[in-house]
């Protein structure tokens, strides 16, 4: 017979345990979101507000915000194209062969993740210095290419720089995720495939890819969030929100600029709501894919 919960407990005990979460949710998530939502329809002056309907959203229809949106979306798509296949292939490699050597590779690729964005961005700025003597330009010249003004060279250079920084900082984390997905695949499947004479590529395509599907969806989701929320990298590379031709301006960068530098509270709230809407939609799709809504916390 199962002991009933009533010994030494009362109906409120569970709520005492979850209280910190509820309080933090109300204060640090729900209240800010509601107030942002309201402010999105307001013109905010110091000491007074005026409701202006959708005017703040209409004002978002400007070239600068479009550049920011485009940069963020481009960055997100490129990081997905780089930061999913590459770590997947690397993790398949690291999942077979000598374990000690593999763990050394894995650790080295993971180390950049530990480094603060300020430090990482500073090193990148110096490696990609515009002078002909900068190490990357030296390398470019040695390979017969033109030296470039990396930081000030315009949109494509800016994007390359941001992507290299992302590759350096995030490959290690995604490898860890894929490795944990791979380790959940039973060896028997590969053994059976070996007996059937499957090639390495066939095993990868027919067994590995389908069975790491959930990990891939998870990594894709966090990468999309990471991509859309990207700001700090650009802030460090260009020392703030002013990059030449807005080459490094992102959605959050625009939000930061409007809100914290120009004090446009209403408009900033509108940007926040647009972003929240995107995130909400993606999040719901993700949770549905994993069936969190039907059966809570089910292990897969």
């Amino acid at each position: 017979m199962k002991l009933k919960q009533t010994i030494g407990t009362s109906k409120i005990t569970p709520y005492v345990f979850i209280f910190p979460f509820i309080a933090s949710f109300l204060i640090f998530y729900l209240y800010p979101i509601i107030s942002t939502f309201i402010m999105g329809f307001q013109l905010v002056y110091p000491g007074q507000v005026e409701f202006i309907g959708l005017e703040n959203y209409r004002k978002l229809n400007n070239p600068e915000f479009k550049v920011a949106l485009l940069n963020s979306f481009r960055y997100t798509i490129y990081t997905l194209l780089l930061l999913i296949p590459l770590p997947l292939v690397l993790s398949v490699w690291l999942n077979s062969g000598n374990r000690t050597i593999n763990s050394i590779y894995r650790s080295i690729l993971y180390v950049p993740t530990l480094i603060s964005v300020v430090v990482a961005g500073t090193i990148m700025r110096l490696l990609f210095a515009s002078s002909n003597r900068g190490i990357i330009n030296t390398l470019a010249i040695a390979l017969g290419a033109e030296p470039r003004q990396w930081l000030l060279g315009g949109p494509s250079q800016a994007m390359i720089l941001l992507l290299i920084l992302a590759l350096w900082r995030w490959v290690g984390v995604n490898i860890i995720y894929f490795l944990s997905g791979l380790q959940a695949i039973p060896d028997e499947l590969y053994e059976a495939a070996n007996i059937d004479g499957a090639s390495g590529f066939q095993k990868f395509w027919r067994i590995t890819i389908p069975l790491v599907k959930n990990t891939t969806i998870f990594v894709t989701t966090i990468s999309i969030f990471g991509g859309l929320a990207m700001f700090e990298e650009s802030y460090i590379l260009w020392s703030g929100t002013a990059s030449p031709n807005n080459a490094g301006l992102t959605i959050v960068g625009y939000l930061y600029k409007k809100g914290f530098q120009e004090g446009e509270m209403g408009m900033t709230s509108a940007i926040g709501i647009v972003l929240l809407f995107i995130v909400f939609t993606l999040n719901t799709t993700f949770l549905k894919t994993f069936g969190f809504f039907e059966s809570e916390g089910r292990q897969r």
Partner: protein, 282 residues
């Protein structure tokens, strides 16, 4: 025979690619290590050059800069970062495990909603909430205080989810045994469950500490006075578009980075565990 040969060629290619990749990945760190001991004006003019990377003629005078520049404010930043790390990580561990226990062990009205909410918030990037949070900090007068930096972070949805997964795996008999012994529910948590959670606590402690140590955007907004800055915020002030103070910046960056790398070398498995066991498997 041909198959064996084919395999070993593949293995050699794999190792060549991996070794090359690892060298590329280590290059920025190696650069930092050497550039930290080079004169700042050369770095400002040329960036990191081939000469920077040849380990000769190091100038250790930069270390002195840590003590002398702006009356040794670097150590104030270091201390601030440490204080925040300890406070934020310990509070986050306590509150998150407390909440996780409630969600994992009990059946109560709204359990499903709370669980879904935790998972949902886990994925919401803090960046989109900074403006309203900033307004909130002004309203409750927590701007330019450490409280303002760590309070919004101490109930971490990610840590709650992580601990919940861990507690889900603890045999319920253990908890029932506590009840038979007449312990109340809180005593069961503190005296039975917490003592068997060190592996989970270690993993999250490392994870939370690293997050706090490297946290950039939120402290950048909350902290205003130089003597309250954390390391990333302080170092950031040395970085300007055309005239960065690389003398202090790089040696400071090195001194801020080395501790994490050393901790990583010794506690690697906790780093990995913190990332994966709370995440989605398969």
């Amino acid at each position: 025979m041909t198959i064996v040969k084919h395999r070993s060629v593949n293995t050699i290619i794999k190792h060549i690619v991996l070794v090359f990749l690892c060298l590329v990945y280590l290059l920025p760190l190696y650069s930092l290590l050497l550039a930290a001991f080079r004169p700042g004006r050369d770095l400002l003019r040329y960036g990191i050059t081939l000469q920077t990377l040849i380990p000769t003629g190091m100038n250790f005078a930069n270390i002195k800069g840590l003590y002398t520049i702006r009356e040794g404010i670097y150590f104030t930043w270091f201390k601030n970062s440490l204080v925040l790390l300890v406070v934020q990580a310990s509070l986050a561990l306590f509150f998150s495990s407390f909440v996780a226990y409630g969600i994992s062990v009990y059946h109560f009205k709204g359990k499903k909603t709370v669980t879904t909410l935790v998972i949902f918030l886990m994925l919401v990037p803090i960046q989109i909430l900074i403006l309203p949070l900033y307004k909130l900090m002004i309203t409750i007068s927590l701007m330019d205080t450490f409280w303002g930096v760590f309070l919004p972070m101490i109930v971490s949805p990610f840590a709650i989810f992580f601990f919940k997964q861990y507690i889900d795996g603890i045999p319920r008999d253990l908890i029932d045994a506590g009840r038979v012994d007449g312990l109340n529910e809180y005593a069961i948590f503190f005296r039975i469950v917490v003592p068997i959670m060190p592996p989970a606590f270690s993993a999250m402690a490392i994870f939370m500490s690293m997050q706090s140590w490297n946290n950039f955007l939120w402290p950048l907004i909350v902290l205003r006075s130089g003597n309250k800055f954390t390391l990333p915020i302080g170092l950031n002030t040395l970085l300007t578009p055309y005239n960065s103070a690389y003398d202090l910046l790089l040696i400071g960056a090195l001194a801020a980075t080395l501790p994490i790398i050393i901790v990583f070398i010794f506690f690697q498995r906790y780093f990995i565990a913190g990332l994966t066991s709370g995440g989605v498997k398969g």
